[in-house]
Amino acid sequence: MLELPLAGPGRARNDRCPPAVFARMLDPRPAAWHNSGRAAIGATDAEGAGEDRKTGMAVLKLRGVSKHFGAIHALTGVDLTVERGQALGLMGDNGAGKSTLMKIIAGNFPPSAGSIAIDDQEVHFSKPLEAREKGVEIVYQDLALCDNLTAAGNVFLGRELKKRAGPIAWLDHGAMYRRAATLFAELKSETRPRDLVRQMSGGQRQAVAIARTRLSDPKIVLMDEPTAAISVRQVKEVLDLIHRLKETNHAVILVSHRMPDVFAVCDRVAVLRRGAKVADKPIAATSPEEVTGLITGAIAAA
């Protein structure tokens, strides 16, 4: 079995030993040296591949996505694949191109070059609603909630449920409260549908924003810094929500600066630096130290 060091999906889960991995990254000795004692781990390689198949096919594929704003190259030739039931951590320093990439996937603007495919069908979005129709939902960093509306009101904003009698249609509050309650219960969140968002904790607000993405049963959920502005206790709540999304076979892309959160919920991590992807590997095959090195540029690529 030929195994490249520190790359590819073959890295076994039980091989997770971050400091050692990190040390090897900086180790000039040939790969074969590390692998000499690892032939026996071939079995776990196969298991890893099998796990990928179990969780489903690649739902989102980006090929050579670039974005230029005038002379500024925000993204250059980014490839990215996300599978069902999997969470991909997208990391990078400020200005590395994370937000640009998310906005392209969410349909805020089109890429300058490259292609996006959802379920192997190439898609071209010119506005967020088109991305939503194709199964892409995004939870914005500022959550994009209306403080003056209830939790249920925010979940159904722009997609209100209505009753109809002849030409007159009116909001079906009962149905919206019930459906929102079900969504919150599925997320195991204690958010109450009738509460005003103004009166909610950061974790509950996240639950509202995430519950909203589940209305349309999306294929891909993009999350932009969901744990950036909330307390430690609420972070766990949000990470649980992400686990729940994975369990229900959604693909998740998590943009975050918080290393522990990415390592807690993500299956893979991709690192952007100056608009280019410098790493994309299973979380089990890397370490916070390595990722930090990749983000800062201390490690060129992996």
């Binding site: 959550l143 909630l145 209306c146 003056n148 904003l157 722009g158 997609r159 909001l171 109450r192 509460d195």
Partner: protein, 337 residues
């Protein structure tokens, strides 16, 4: 498995049906409730102070007078809910009143007069709304400009003359604005119907929901797929239409119209909306707040008159109550934050 399912259903149900506040509590948290209380209190005091106050004639006058402001405040409330302001309503009354007078005076029927009145109002609202929504101009500036322009056009087309001939339908026209049904002035009937329509729209229509959302967080509303620009245009058109309707009724009541109709009314209308609980920062509005706010102001005006205080003091108290209402709102917000 079965027990687990029922359990979930029960939990869902308890979450869905749980109310944070009783109906009474949720009502007492709104500004219109407290203003209504103030109205009743003031009424009680006045009925003791002045024997004329509870007289049928006085109550009839009070209710008719505040109906016009209440109708316009309903439209203004929607504008304020989107964090906007419409300063042009007073001038638009003058323009719409003159247009109605000119059309009907030229021998057209009341239908044509009404349609012309509504059409010119809608046009003014459309211009306001388009400049604010699509060119992203500040509502204050746009509607202040329209305040000057609408009044000026009213002067030009009326040739600065009073109109008191309203053609073949003059009797019907003056009956609608100046008469009553079942002892209640017609403008009050219009106000009651419109208030119920607005109450329904705020609570049960997507339009109402979207007006709240645009006022609460326009960026979030846009991302949720709400046509923010069209919602903004709609509230300015509606505000203008209520001003046009108030002008139509008021000209019928007066039996004449000059281009000075509605001068400085924008102040009273904004004050009525704000006293009725509309938050100038956007996102908060009550349909019942508009008539209640207008009623309080008219009641104060009437009380001052009955108490023998010079009418020249009236605007002073309108301004004073506007400032007090905003101050109270700020204090309440601070308590909440």
């Amino acid at each position: 498995m079965t027990t687990e399912t029922t359990d979930h259903a029960r939990i869902d149900d308890s979450i869905a049906t749980r109310r944070e506040m009783s109906w009474f509590e949720s009502v007492t948290r709104t500004q219109p409730f407290w203003v209504l209380l103030a109205i009743l209190l003031l009424g009680l005091v006045m009925s003791q102070v002045s024997p004329v106050f509870l007289g049928e004639r006085n109550l009839f006058n009070i209710s008719r007078n505040f109906a016009f402001f209440g109708i316009m405040a309903l439209g203004m409330t929607a504008v304020i809910c989107t964090a906007g302001i419409d300063l042009s309503v007073g001038s638009l009354m003058g323009l719409a009143g003159i247009v109605t007078g000119l059309v009907m005076g030229a021998g057209w029927g009341i239908e044509a007069g009404f349609l012309a009145c509504m059409a010119v109002s809608a046009l003014v609202g459309l211009i306001n709304g388009a400049l604010i929504a699509y060119l992203r101009m500040a509502p204050f500036v746009v509607t202040l400009g329209m305040l000057a322009m609408a009044r000026s056009i009213a002067m030009v087309i009326s040739n600065n003359k009073m109109i008191y001939e309203f053609g073949p339908d003059q009797d019907l026209f003056t009956w609608i604005g100046g008469s009553s049904m079942l002892g209640v002035p017609n403008p009050i009937w219009v106000l009651i119907v419109l208030t119920l329509v607005f109450w329904w729209a705020y609570n049960y229509s997507t339009w109402g929901r979207w007006v709240y959302a645009v006022g609460g967080n326009p960026q979030a509303a846009r991302l949720a797929g709400i046509p923010v620009e069209r919602v903004l245009v709609s509230v300015y058109v509606i505000s203008s239409l209520t001003a046009g309707l108030a002008a139509f009724l008021m000209v019928g009541w007066f039996g004449s119209v000059t281009n000075a109709l509605g001068q400085t009314y924008e102040l009273n209308v904004i004050a009525a909306s704000v006293i009725g609980g509309a938050n100038l920062m956007g996102g908060v509005a009550y349909a019942f707040g508009a008539p209640i706010g207008a009623a309080l102001m008219e009641l104060i005006r009437n009380s001052l008159l009955l108490a023998g205080i010079d009418a020249l003091w009236q605007q002073f108290f309108v301004g004073l109550f506007l400032i007090i209402a905003v101050l109270l709102e700020q204090i309440r917000n601070r308590g909440r934050g």
